[in-house]
């Protein structure tokens, strides 16, 4: 299932400047793995021992995946996954 991933500006050096990527997967974890397969450098930037680094937030349709099932959250065809830095606001 094709999912659009929005890449934050801070990571675009690792995607050759691309601001979005279209990848396949049935869960957020699979989507991220597919993204890492395409852009290897992304894994070391945002992944941490099987999870995500603590200052990385991931959203589906605007909802933080930590309110859903985390990396196990299922995704559907056409969903939009957004990766953003957590260190903002306040």
């Amino acid at each position: 299932m094709a999912v659009t991933v929005k890449i934050p500006t801070q990571l675009r050096a690792a995607t050759g400047g691309a601001s979005t990527a279209s990848v396949d997967g049935t869960t957020v974890g699979e989507v991220l793995d597919a993204l890492y397969a395409e852009f290897g450098e992304l894994r070391e930037r945002i992944a941490d021992d099987g999870g995500l680094r603590r200052f990385v937030n991931v959203y589906i349709g605007g909802e933080d995946i930590r309110f859903l099932d985390g990396l196990e959250t299922s995704v559907s065809d056409g969903d939009e996954v957004t990766i953003l830095p957590a260190v903002a606001g306040g």
Partner: protein
């Protein structure tokens, strides 16, 4: 001690002093690093501070600007530190002081952080400043932009208190009310900040912005006669103010401007939005995000950026992070008002209620000197005190006065 670089708090990677807030290597937060102070004549430095303006710019040596502060800024900071003996007596404590940051140009501590972020944004050549706000920051950004003649964009949750919305729009900003909570606004602004050449004070300017909160600590130390209090009670939303107040004391201890150790740091949250208090109680530093549901809207950040650092600080200093209910918040506002004459907004109610809780729990020794940081003004959250007292409505006759009002019968 001029600013030298931005340094990642996590992996220590170093970046130039630009409008940048995230480490590209590990996504950690960037913080301003200063050149080592070297040999310091502390007496001379104290004199220079004392001869400075009655605003936070008296501490410009410790702030991340490379030039003199702009002249067209609102005078943020240098707010009163008031001894609160009646409050102390009521709580069974020895010495309590109130740092009243409602006495700022737009009536909250946010004037400090905005003054610094805007000054740095001007140095970097920005024409537009912006923010994601729970209300107080909205007021400050709109006002400071007006004073400096910059364009501004202010994004807020659409359900904010009316007073905070009106006190923002009046300054002629672009006010955007987002259907969602603060964390939704923050996410949206993080996306916008990536696409627009704007200085978002609490996003891409956050390393400079957050340094402004250190001036609360500098002022407390200077106002106590170059001394450090034993304990600080301060509110936690993102955790930025809480951690930067401690950093302010740390810097001055290291320079030898004051003697002693960092105060015990007690953080205050509303129960309806207490991810940091929960992490503290559970013995972890992972702050699971929450959906806020509290009257303390200025503290309603469910996804606190500096949460892990706030938990770590509370633990390291022997403090805590506690939470209080909405009823306790209302009672806290009343307690502060009735014992000090200071009318604070809900965040100050949270802080006062947590001070009371700590006192009742026996955490505070009567010999301690305690400072509670009151961050905002009660007139901005008027609805919360409606119905908490009685008004005697009478006809304009002396008889009615005597009949209805307690204590009104002349002796």
């Amino acid at each position: 001690m001029p600013p030298e670089s931005l340094t990642c708090k996590e992996c220590k990677a170093v970046y130039p002093l630009e409008a940048k807030y995230v480490c590209e290597r590990c996504f950690g937060p960037l913080e301003v690093a200063y050149a080592p102070a070297g040999e310091i004549d502390t007496e001379e430095l104290r004199r220079r501070i004392q001869a400075g303006p009655h605003s936070l710019w008296r501490y410009r040596d410790f702030l991340p600007l490379t030039q003199a502060p702009p002249r067209d800024t609102l005078p943020a900071g240098w707010t009163p530190l008031l001894r609160a003996d009646r409050l102390a007596e009521k709580l069974g404590l020895g010495e309590v002081w109130i740092k009243n940051d409602a006495a700022n140009p737009t009536h909250s501590f946010k004037d400090r952080v905005v003054a610094v972020a805007l000054a740095r944004a001007k140095e970097l050549g920005y024409q537009t400043i912006a923010c994601a706000s729970t209300g107080n920051l909205a007021n400050a950004v709109a006002a400071h932009a007006a004073a400096a003649g910059l364009d501004s964009y202010v994004l807020i949750p659409s359900n904010l208190e009316e007073q905070k919305i009106l006190a923002t729009g009046v300054y002629g900003t672009h006010l955007v009310a987002v259907r969602g909570n603060y964390d939704d606004v923050n996410r949206l602004c993080t996306e916008i900040a990536g696409e627009h050449e704007w200085a978002f004070v609490n996003i891409n300017m956050r390393p400079y912005y957050s340094e402004g909160s250190k001036t609360i600590a500098y002022e407390i130390a200077e106002q106590l006669g170059w001394a450090i209090p034993d304990r600080i009670v301060a509110p936690i939303a993102s955790g930025s103010l809480f951690t930067k107040v401690a950093k302010g004391f740390e810097e001055w201890i290291e320079l030898g401007l004051v003697n002693g150790t960092v105060p015990v740091m007690n953080g205050a949250q509303a129960l309806g939005c207490s991810p940091v208090a929960t992490a503290f109680a559970e013995g972890t530093d992972i702050c699971r995000p929450v959906k806020p549901d509290t009257i303390a809207k200025s503290l309603a950040i469910g996804n606190p950026a500096d949460g892990p650092y706030a938990v770590e600080l509370a633990r390291r200093t022997g403090g805590s992070v506690d939470s209080v209910t909405d009823d306790e918040i209302r009672a806290g506002i009343k307690l502060l008002a009735e014992t000090t004459g200071i009318f604070t907004e809900t965040a100050g109610g949270v802080t006062t209620a947590v001070l009371k809780k700590l006192a009742e729990r026996g955490d505070i020794d009567p010999s301690e000197r305690v400072v509670a940081v009151i961050t905002g003004e009660g007139l901005k959250t008027l609805d919360t005190v409606r119905g908490t007292f009685e008004t005697y409505e009478i006809d304009a006759t002396y008889d009615a006065f005597e009949a209805k009002v307690p204590g009104a019968v002349a002796a």
